[in-house]
């Protein structure tokens, strides 16, 4: 029998606010245990949560970008469960009136366009971290992450393959990074994904029993877990068994999923309205201003770069892979750098320097002004490209002064034909054998002689001028 895999996703994304969702504690990652905490986020009796307006704004921005309907009258609810990662014994979340519902995103995958429905997007708080100490047989609770703002984005069961899931997550990550609402760092847990998966005979309209997989902390793990779990369910059904609705954990080391919670532990969260937080009523004017201020997202930028600057699709993809990089590119072009030159410098030297230093584009110190000046010097024939790369390396870390560096190191390109001519002649005199070889037909020797002339001029000559003059001299006699 042919089977079809049906997948839906629940993605938790940490919002990049300065303070927590309901208190002023910092959201900074790390920190000594329980040092980013206060009575609100540790659930002390009598503490009153107050919603961070940036959380509301970021959630609405994300909802708009995912083409959701924004709920004009929204509320928070308590999701009750008794587990020490939540000191209040409930999580403040949204069940009945989530902030955004009914969205849709289009994915382009190698096997065609896929349309994925967004069931809903809601705001909630993160839980703390528990560490079990085998020596004392006790669990240590660190509440630094408790109250860090999250949005949970729930899709319809519209995925059929792991590739589609990865394409969605990549697009989601890109969108949220462009909006500036999250840095989406999987390794720091700021983008986490639960996968709901079932299988059914191909052509069937009914959904099979699904399992939920947790603990997926990389795209690779997600893809492998999906393949594993689909195979496990199909084998089970083909052997006449049945799938049990349960939560399963992906074990990275064993390359397998295993059941986490038993059936009798069925989830029963006893949701009820959160009385501590008044409802949210969105103003149409506010919403319109926010829509108008939505930044241009990556797909729109890619199309614009192709149309306006005639850049190849590959270049557009590379430059827009990161919002900061795209802004840097736009800065260069605004300062007069030719688009293709700007793209080449970004894809070559800038990305190379960043990866050599293990840095993200947003950590880069180099300003567009500095690189634009360097590109201009090359364009004006005042620096040759190879020397410019050396200058780039010298100014990259401190955003140094290009002109000052060029002056201090005497790197201006030698464009004086007389000076180049003299160097050509010196090189020819110094290498009579090579000259003879060249005239005897060994074209390869030409490059060697160019190198010698460049060396005479400490690499600062205009390579085109060297070529022309060298050929004239060699061919002339």
């Amino acid at each position: 029998m042919n089977w079809e895999t049906v997948i839906g996703l629940e993605t938790h994304v940490e919002l990049a606010t300065k303070s927590k969702i309901f208190c002023g504690c910092t959201t900074r990652f790390g920190g000594a245990p329980n040092t980013h905490c206060c009575p609100v986020c540790t659930g002390m009796p009598g503490a009153l949560p107050v919603l961070n307006q940036a959380v509301l704004e970021y959630a609405v921005r994300a909802g708009v970008a995912l083409n959701c309907h924004i709920t004009r009258y929204s509320k928070f609810d308590r999701k009750n469960y008794f587990y020490p990662d939540l000191p209040k014994a409930y999580q403040i979340s949204q069940l009945y009136l989530p902030i955004a519902v009914g969205g849709r995103v289009e994915l382009s995958t190698p096997s065609g366009t896929v349309s994925v429905g967004i069931h809903e997007l809601h705001m909630e708080e993160d839980a703390g971290k528990l560490v079990h100490d085998p020596w004392t047989d006790q669990t240590r609770a660190d509440y630094n992450r408790c109250g860090v703002p999250l949005i949970e984005i729930v899709t319809q069961p519209d995925f059929r393959t792991a590739d589609q899931v990865i394409a969605y997550l990549e697009q989601l990550k890109e969108t949220l990074q462009y909006l500036g609402v999250s840095d989406c760092k999987m390794q720091e847990g700021s983008l986490r994904c639960d996968v709901n998966l079932s299988v059914r005979p191909l052509g069937s309209r009914e959904l099979g029993t699904r399992t939920e997989m947790k603990n997926l902390n990389s795209f690779k793990a997600i893809a492998r877990a999906i393949d594993y779990e689909a195979r496990r369910q199909i084998e089970l059904l083909e052997q006449g068994g049945r799938v049990v609705q349960e939560t399963r954990r992906w074990d990275e080391n064993k390359d397998a999923t295993y059941a986490m919670r038993s059936k009798e532990d069925a989830q029963d969260y006893r949701y009820f309205p959160e009385p501590d937080l008044p409802p949210i009523e969105l103003d149409e004017g506010w919403l319109a201003r926010l829509r108008a201020a939505q930044p241009e997202l990556a797909p729109a930028k890619r199309a614009r770069y192709q149309a306006d600057y005639g850049l190849p699709a590959y270049d557009c993809q590379m430059i827009t892979s990161d919002r900061v990089l795209a802004q840097f590119f736009e800065g260069l072009v605004e300062l007069g750098a030719p688009a293709k030159q700007a793209a080449n410098w970004i894809m070559g030297e800038v990305l190379g320097a960043l990866s050599a230093r293990g840095m993200e584009p947003r950590e880069m110190c180099l300003s567009a002004g500095t690189l634009a000046r360097l590109i201009a010097l090359v364009e004006e024939g005042k620096l040759n490209r190879n020397t410019a790369v050396k200058v780039f390396e010298a100014v990259f870390d401190q955003d140094g002064d290009v002109d000052a560096y060029v002056r201090a190191h005497g790197l201006e390109q030698v464009n004086d034909a007389g000076v180049v001519q003299a160097a050509v002649e010196r090189a020819i005199q110094a290498h009579p054998q090579s000259v003879a070889d060249f005239r005897g037909g060994k074209e390869k020797v030409f490059g060697f002689l160019v190198g010698q002339v460049m060396r005479e001029l400490k690499g600062k000559a205009d390579p085109k001028l060297v070529n022309t003059l060298l050929r004239q001299v060699l061919g002339g006699t």
């Binding site: 606010t17 300065k18 303070s19 208190c23 002023g24 504690c25 910092t26 000594a32 245990p33 329980n34 040092t35 980013h36 905490c37 206060c38 009575p39 540790t42 002390m44 107050v50 919603l51 961070n52 307006q53 940036a54 959380v55 509301l56 509320k75 009750n80 469960y81 008794f82 587990y83 020490p84 000191p87 528990l130 560490v131 079990h132 004392t136 047989d137 006790q138 669990t139 240590r140 609770a141 660190d142 509440y143 009798e264 532990d265 029963d268 006893r270 309205p273 959160e274 009385p275 937080l277 008044p278 409802p279 949210i280 009523e281």
Partner: protein, 95 residues
């Protein structure tokens, strides 16, 4: 409302309370009396009334996204029934 011993078992499981077998029936009877007491409310016809979640007509209480100093850890941990130098301690709850 009928409170069964099964429901008592489920609720104590959710709230992580272990109730001795013998106390379950007594607890069911007591809880049923408490819940029945509330039953008086269901005599009212609330069909046309929207459920109220907030007593005061307040909307949109928001704070600016500004970092405030967190609490002194010692002061926070002073409230914990069990603690070490840096953390709250609980009975074993992770595998």
């Amino acid at each position: 409302m009928k409170i069964t011993t099964e429901l008592i078992a489920h609720i104590s499981q959710l709230s992580r309370l272990s109730l001795p077998e013998g106390e379950q029936a007594a607890m069911a009877a007591q809880l049923e009396r408490i819940v029945d007491y509330m039953d008086v409310l269901s005599r009212l016809d609330t069909g046309d009334i929207e459920p109220m979640s907030h007593v005061f007509p307040v909307r949109n209480v928001l704070r600016a996204d500004e970092e405030q100093p967190s609490c002194d850890r010692e002061a926070l941990l002073a409230n914990a029934p069990a603690r070490d130098e840096e953390s709250f301690l609980t009975p074993k709850s992770v595998e």
